[in-house]
Symmetry: C2
Subunit: 157 residues, 2 copies
DNA sequence: TTGTTTGCAAACCTTTTGCACGTTA
DNA sequence: TAACGTGCAAAAGGTTTGCAAACAA
């Protein structure tokens, strides 16, 4: 092992070169922007984040680049259920988390659970299907929306 | 308990009447078609299944009815990840299964696992989030596509 | 230089909406 | 009959494609 420090841009550049693909400012900026945003950004939000530094960047480039980054394993794509996709940085180690999706406000938050991971892996071994990834999405009502609902119920609105 | 036999159409009619909504041939046929299809049909596939019996039925009606059936708890909607939704009959008891989604051919199959259910429920209790449902989707390569890949590798194509 | 990548505009495709007609109760 | 549901056509929204200009190697 040469290094165990995670250096995203160096990683992206070298992965691109390894595949004979070009290192462009769009690709570097989009990758960096997704890291800065933290989590769960739509293509349009990524565009807004990149635009200040590179005003000419276009939505087709955002999509193409996010797809490329997904192929490279640097980005994970999540369907939120309203016809839109969200993207988030993926950890190269494969560690990951799952999602709480609020049915009312649509906001996505994350959780991790080792017990759940074990259950998934145990069950994957029994299938005639090569499991390459898994999503566990819990849908319901988030704390903020529960509070709103309580407030409405209390005031009788 | 008056009956523990599951009679889908009677159930649909009475649920509609209970909500003051009308019982139409479209609603009955769409509900029945989804049951006949078995599992995981797109709105367009439902249209094709219903058309022979009711040629004038339209896609907007399919969508409106599937949404209604989902509200009634008779249908479950699944995002397959390509911008399309699939619909399947839901069991009134709340029992359910999860999905194997093939990254190559896009086909969806189902599995159940009690251990996984227990892990999900155990973890849901620790969250400040009211969990109303959950999806567990395993993504990877199905047996048929694995066989294809092997064949290609063997013949060197 | 040469082939890849980008930006623009337009196309795509699933899903939703508006409105007049037909149907249910 | 009075309101609800349907069919049609068109719109909406996110995503993808075609192509000429710009760019990395």
């Amino acid at each position: 092992v040469t290094s165990d420090i995670f250096t995203p841009d160096a990683d992206l550049s070298s992965r691109l070169r390894a595949r004979g693909q070009r290192v462009t400012s769009q690709r570097l900026l989009i990758h960096a922007a997704l890291g800065d945003l933290g989590r769960h950004a739509t293509a349009d939000e990524v565009l807004s984040a990149v635009s200040p530094r590179l005003p000419s960047v276009s939505l087709p480039t955002i999509y193409a680049t996010l797809e490329l980054l997904e192929d490279l394993g640097l980005v994970h794509r999540l369907e939120t259920g309203e016809g839109t996709s969200c993207y988030e940085p993926a950890h190269p180690s494969g560690e990951h988390h799952h999602h709480l999706i609020c049915n009312r406000c649509g906001r996505v938050s994350a959780f991790e659970d080792a017990g759940l991971e074990r259950s998934v892996q145990k069950m994957a071994r029994r299938l005639t299907f090569r499991v390459e990834g898994h999503d566990v999405d819990l849908r319901g009502t988030c704390a903020a929306c529960l509070a709103d609902a309580d407030a409405v119920a209390t005031t009788g609105a």
